[in-house]
C-alpha cells in the first residue's frame, strides 16, 4: 500500500536533486488544456509528454506545463515547444503516439518532427 511514509522517503531522495534542477531546464513544452484542447484529446497527450520526459530521464532539461486556449481550436490538441535561442515550434492535431515520437526525436534528439507542425498541416 502506498503511504505517506513512502512519500517522506521520496522527499529524502529528492532534496539534493531538486536543488540541482533549479533554473536549468532549457526546453519548455506547453500543452493547451482549455475546453477545446481537452475535448480534442489533450489529456492523454499531456500524460504522454510527462511520462516520456520521465522515462527518457529528461526532467533536468525539459519542463512540461499547461496553458489555456491559444486561439487555434480547430488544430487541437496543440503543443508548443519553446527553446532558448530558437524559434517556437507549434505541433498540432497530436495524440499520445505522436507525443511519444516528439519526445524521442525532438526533445531528446534535437530534431523537430516537421510533419506534425502547424506549417506542414496547413500545406495539406
Amino acid at each position: 500500500m502506498k503511504s505517506l511514509a513512502e512519500l517522506a522517503a521520496i522527499r529524502e531522495k529528492m532534496q539534493s536533486k531538486v536543488a540541482l534542477r533549479e533554473g536549468e531546464a532549457s526546453l519548455r513544452v506547453v500543452v493547451g488544456m482549455a475546453t477545446c484542447g481537452i475535448a480534442a484529446g489533450a489529456r492523454p497527450v499531456l500524460n504522454a509528454f510527462v511520462d516520456g520526459v520521465n522515462n527518457a530521464n529528461l526532467t533536468d532539461k525539459v519542463t512540461v506545463t499547461q496553458t489555456g486556449c491559444i486561439g487555434i481550436c480547430q488544430y487541437e490538441p496543440v503543443v508548443e515547444v519553446f527553446e532558448e535561442g530558437k524559434d517556437k515550434v507549434t505541433y498540432v492535431k497530436l495524440d499520445a503516439q505522436k507525443a511519444a515520437e516528439i519526445v524521442e526525436k525532438h526533445l531528446k534528439g534535437g530534431n523537430v518532427v516537421t510533419e506534425y507542425t502547424i506549417g506542414a498541416y496547413k500545406k495539406d
Binding site: L7, M14, M33, T35, I38, A39, R43, V50, G68
Partner: protein, 182 residues
Amino acid sequence: MKELSLNILDVAKNSVTAGASLVQISLLTDASGWMTLTIADDGCGMSKETLQNVTDPFYTTRTTRKVGLGLPLLKLATEQTGGSLHIESSQEQGSSGTTLVARFDTTSIDCMPVGDIISTICILIAGSPEIDFEFSDVTPTREVSLKTKELREVLGGEISLAEPEIQGWMREYLQEQYTSEA
C-alpha cells in the same frame, strides 16, 4: 467530451483562475445510482450577472473570443441523464467563493462514464502545485480521497507537487485506493 472526468478537469480550472487557495472536488454516489459532483472553491466568486449567464455558451468573461463552452457542456451532461447543475457564488470579502453541484443519474443510458479521474486530479495538481486540492470519490462500497495539504506536510515547502516523482506517487496512491475496494 466523452468522459465526465474531462468536464471536471475543464471546469475545476475555473476555480484556479478565480484565485482559489483551496479547491474541493467530490463525487458521491448513493445506492440508487445518483451521483453528485461538487466543486467548491474559495476564489473571487462571480457577480449576479455573470452567474445568471454562466451556462450560456455565448457568454464568456474572456475578451479574446465570444464562446465559452466549459459549463454549458457540463450542464448538458447532467441534463441528458435527467439531472441538473446548480451554481452558487459569493463575492463577499472574506467569504467569497463558488460552489457547483452537478447531479447525474448514473443508471441512465445517456450518462457519460466518469473515465480517467486519476489523470484529471493529477493534472489539476500538476498545473497549480501551489494551491490546495481536496478530492474524494465515495460510493456505498468504497472511499477514495486525496488531500494535497497532507502531502505538503510530509514534503515541506521545497518540493513541488508537480515534480514527476511526486506525480507518480500520487497516481499510484489513487490507483491503489480504487483497486482495493471491497
